[in-house]
């Protein structure tokens, strides 16, 4: 059972291909975050789903109903698709009050029903006081909530959100994000949320779809994308990585912190090794022992729950000598001290050097 499905959707502006053979299906009640760098085509995918962008090739289905099929010339206009849509700039109607905005999509509903639905949403989103106020007098967070209420009022089975939190300042963002998450979950609407912010995607998505240059790179649970990225781009997108170049020898790649197994890659191939900062754990060197993987501490900073340690390894054949380590705890090693570094291979990824960075 799927609520919204894309099959082989491609889209070009002028001759510029911005969506390239895109496929994705979203289950009922599921929240999927479509994430990628700006200009990767993610907003175009959302606009195609809404019917705001004419479908050029491929198919789009809402539930069992095919709303777009370029091959058969089907392209249902946006007003007949019954989707909820929240825009980055909210696009509230300035000539209507908050209640008028929320009621805008409730045309085929009786006056009594309309009033009660608007009242319920105002209540649920803590906007009761603002029912008769005009949008330009509201704060950014309040406007965002009105936009969400307006999209949800007709009770759509699918909600599309385009960068809904990017206009909010950081202090407010987490709170509104939480509120939105709970509201969407309580409505059991299938949700496609477009964002450029990987942290936001991980905080909200049941699944995450990662796009780059019009192509779907990887789709899966947030932990899949973080722990099992399919390429260097995916690994780098969801968190900081230390990068070092290497070569496969005897089924492993040498790093300053020990060998990493790389049995799936052919012998002698050039590779990039990506090491998450938390994969590097720094320990003091025991008295009288010789460190097997030593490094010099350049700087150590406490960032709150974690500490960041800047390390430098002895010059050797390494393409990179500077590494970041992130560790729990607040005990910081002294600057210029020599420490032992242990590597966690489960947070370390090896990709062919030809892979996109």
């Amino acid at each position: 059972m799927t609520a919204l499905a894309f099959e082989h959707v491609s889209h070009a502006f002028a001759k510029n291909l911005v969506v390239d053979d895109f496929g994705l299906s979203i289950g009922p009640g599921e929240i999927v975050c479509l994430v990628g760098p700006s200009g990767c085509g993610k907003t175009t995918v959302l606009r195609i789903a809404a019917g705001l962008e004419p479908l050029q090739s491929g198919r789009v289905a809402i539930g069992e109903r095919v709303v777009g099929d370029a091959g058969r010339g089907i392209d249902v206009p946006p007003d007949e698709r019954g989707l909820g849509l929240v825009f980055q700039d909210y696009a509230l109607f300035p000539h209507l009050s908050v209640a008028g905005n929320i009621a805008f999509g409730l045309r085929r509903v009786g006056a009594e029903e309309r009033r009660s639905r608007v009242a319920a949403l105002l209540e649920q989103l803590d906007l009761g006081r603002f029912a008769e106020v005009y949008p330009h007098t509201l704060s950014g967070g309040q406007q965002q909530r009105v936009a969400l209420a307006r999209a949800l009022a007709p009770g759509p089975g699918i909600v599309l959100l385009d960068e809904p939190f990017s206009g909010l300042d950081t202090a407010l963002r987490a709170q509104i994000r939480d509120q939105t998450l709970h509201l969407l979950k309580s409505r059991e609407a299938a949700t496609l949320l477009v964002t450029h912010d990987p942290e936001e995607a991980m905080a909200l998505g049941d699944r995450i779809a990662l796009m780059r240059e019009g192509r779907l790179i990887q789709i899966g649970a947030p932990s899949d994308l973080y722990l099992h990225p399919v390429n260097a781009f995916a690994a780098g997108f969801f968190g900081e990585v230390n990068r070092i170049a290497g070569e496969v020898r005897a089924g492993a790649v040498a790093t300053p912190f020990g060998d990493i197994p790389a049995t799936r890659l052919p012998e002698g191939s050039a590779v990039d090794v990506l090491i998450r900062p938390e994969a590097l754990q720094v320990r003091a060197i025991g008295a009288g022992t010789r460190p097997s993987h030593p490094a010099i501490v350049l700087a150590a900073r406490l960032l709150g729950e974690v500490s960041m340690v800047h390390l430098e390894v002895e010059s050797g054949a390494w393409s990179e000598r500077h590494f970041h380590s992130r560790m729990a705890g607040s005990v910081l090693p002294g600057e210029n001290s020599v420490v032992e570094v242990a590597l966690d291979p489960s947070r370390t990824f090896v990709f062919r050097a030809a892979d996109p960075k």
């Binding site: 019917g51 962008e53 109607f93 000539h95």
Partner: protein, 553 residues
Amino acid sequence: MLRGGSAGGGWTPAAFVVAVLISLPVLVVTANLFTPAGEIWRHLAATVLPSYVANSLWIMFGVGLGVLVIGVGTAWLVAMCEFPGRRIFEWALLLPFAVPAYVIAYTYTGLLDFGGPVQVWLRDGLGMAGVAAWFPDIRSLVGAIVLMALVLYPYVYMLARTAFHEQSFAAIEVSRTLGCGPWRSFRSVSLPLARPAIAGGLALALMEALNDFGTVQFFGVDTFTTGIYRTWLGLGERPAAAQLAALLMMFIFALIVLERWSRGARRYQHTGARYQVLPRYRLPAAKGALACLACAAPVTLGFLIPALALAAWAIDTASATVNARFLTMAANSFLVAAVTALLAVLIAATLAYGLRIRRTPAMAAATRIAALGYAVPGSVIAVGVLIPFAFIDNTVDGWFRAQFGLSTGLFLSGTLVALVFAYLVRFLAISLNTVEAGFGRITPRMDDAARSLGQSRGGVLRRVLAPLMRGSLLAAGLLVFVDVMKELPATLLVRPFNFDTLATHAYEYASDELLVEASSASLAIVAVGIVPVILLSRAIARARAGQEGGRAP
């Protein structure tokens, strides 16, 4: 730009059809450039054509010079200097816009001719018996040029003033720190930077000068417009009139090119700090008084004197002239102006919405051609409307005669339909520009949001866009309304038999030398003409406050 789902619905084709229809007269006239010349044409070319060309060129040269001196000079004073009355002159300099050229011509003739108060006073009051011998004849080419310059300079003033305001603060500051006084920084910085805007205003003023019929007809100066009128109505030589119209279009095309170029060049001008208020030169007392005088002169000559004279005459003659017939004419004017304004706004909204949905090259081109009418003289448009309408009338009539043996007569030509259509062709551009600007200030996300909430394309226009741009729609309608009230040459040629408006009434009374009796109609036209001046000055005030709605991201 906004891309639609699937297609534009019915909007794009509808807009395209309307655009083509409105372009028809301009295309018909232009096509006459390529038709072979007839006998009467050779006759015209041998006799009157050289004087048409010469007079039209003299008018363009003289009016051009006049509007440049008055328009640029006052614009610079008002934008860059501080002197007594500056804030009043800022909008008062627009007032002559309210006076059509033919009205100022009738008024000054009434004031300055042999029987007018000035000569009477010189003769009787000062005892100069021979005044008529040396007093300049206002009814001449020079008189026409001076009077037209007095009412057309606001085009240059308006655009030049805006350009001076928008000029880079830094460029002026730098020139001042480099030791340029007001005069040198005007010549070496301000003027070159404002040149495109000035050229645009000049082009508009010259288009209006070429459009003029009432003044040159009344002054007996033969130009293309009077030639077209005489050849069409007097000689009944329609192909020759059409060729004169086509020839006049060549002048107009040159001006359109000038105006387009100036728009293109102006686009690159918006540099930095736009809302920074330029510190003005504080003029010392003597110079300040001179500046005040320089600004007061065009306002007085172009608006105050004619308006006051008209008011005085109208009060004198009101009991005789404001009768049932006058009220009928006022109602006629109001009716055609209101109908045209309503249709112009509806058509402009259709075209602009069609463009908003899908800006295809064909659609954009059709709209541009439909909007060319603003540049085309009313007499030319009249010819371009009457020729195809007569063709349709004759074809339908012939068909009915052949099929049923009955005549349908003229059901388009000589009707209000033809007149309103001619007005629409001429003034659509005014409503289109205003409505397009209104659309431009509304982010396309509004359309998207309304569509996703279940509104059709028409619903988006009705429920979201129209309420949001009520002000623009109203302004568009008002501007068209006023221009229709003032329009003379097209009305004269296309109007139904015995259909009089205030403009044709003023024209006919003036032709009969009943200048004082024409004053009530003229005054009514001037009074209505003040409305857009108020709109313009309010827009200027808003822009100054930096409230101009920018396009949302």
